[in-house]
């Protein structure tokens, strides 16, 4: 099991989701992806889009340095 951290803050929708899909495609089932994303449309849309692809969003927390950190388990 591996753990990947990506900072996609500043990358707008839907490019942030496209990049997330590509990162997840390179991971194994059960691996954890920690993702930093922007407030606003990113946090409103991206977790739902990731779940529709069959992955699990384990947590969503506001990040002190700005934006949100979401933790995704690859499905």
């Amino acid at each position: 099991m591996s753990n990947v951290l990506k900072d996609f803050r500043g990358i707008k929708c839907p490019v942030n989701f496209a990049k997330t899909k590509l990162v997840l495609a390179g991971m194994n089932k059960g691996d954890i992806l920690e993702l930093l994303i922007d407030d606003g449309s990113a946090i409103e849309n991206l977790p739902g889009s990731v779940e529709k692809e069959g992955h699990k969003v384990l947590s969503k927390d506001e990040e002190k340095s700005g934006g949100w950190k979401i933790v995704i388990q690859k499905g």
């Binding site: 490019v15 989701f17 496209a18 899909k21 590509l22 495609a25 889009s49």
Partner: protein, 270 residues
Amino acid sequence: MKKTDFTDKEVERYARHIILEHVGIEGQLKLLNSKVLIIGAGGLGSPAALYLAAAGVGTIGIADGDIVDLSNLQRQIIHSTNDIGIPKVKSAKNKMLALNPDITVNTYKEYLNASNILEIVSSYDFIIDGSDNFATKFLINDACVLANKPFSHGGILRFTGQTMTVAPNHSACYACVFDSPPPQQSVPTCSSAGVLGTIAGMLGTIQATEAIKYIVNYGELLTNKLLIFDAATMDFDKIKFDKNPECRVCGKNGIKQLKDYEQNICEDRK
């Protein structure tokens, strides 16, 4: 070289395909690695070429022997007023590369005939018939049947359009449905009857969509179906038919070699 990954720019350019179910990462990579030939850089070829370039079809061939004329510009939107007098394939290539500099565009500044079509067709995965005369349409059909290449037939006139997709040996070919070209002067051409410019956009875009569906292997192609529409009423119909086992082109005693059909070239070209 086969592409297996995306650059950051490509992720951004193709983001809406990458996030799209049934295209996605795999489908976009298939598009980047695919080769489509567009025969005719006119009304149908214009939107097809632009959308396929935008979609990132990695290699696009475009064949046309004609030069850009002012009377083309009412519908052939890949060309501009300042392209008048230059070869259509050159004008088309410039626009496609301006839209997407990452693709490769091969140009064939020639009219296709029985002696040159097979070689050109054989290096592509899918062919779009954007020609303006029956002789070329039947020739494209015959060449694609012989070379076993899928293609999209398209035709437009007045307010109407028709299209079908042919997967040789699997589905009906153009000759299964229409057998052979109509006698010269028996049917109106786009130059004698006119055509609404937007019809070219509607139909060429459908043909480009068929090419993309074939490449990403999703959905149902217009095989064994003729899609016809009349924009005056916006009625769309699909007529179903089967492969003709006795077809003179793809039937059991089908063609073994190509021949040129009698030309009935659009008056515009003269």
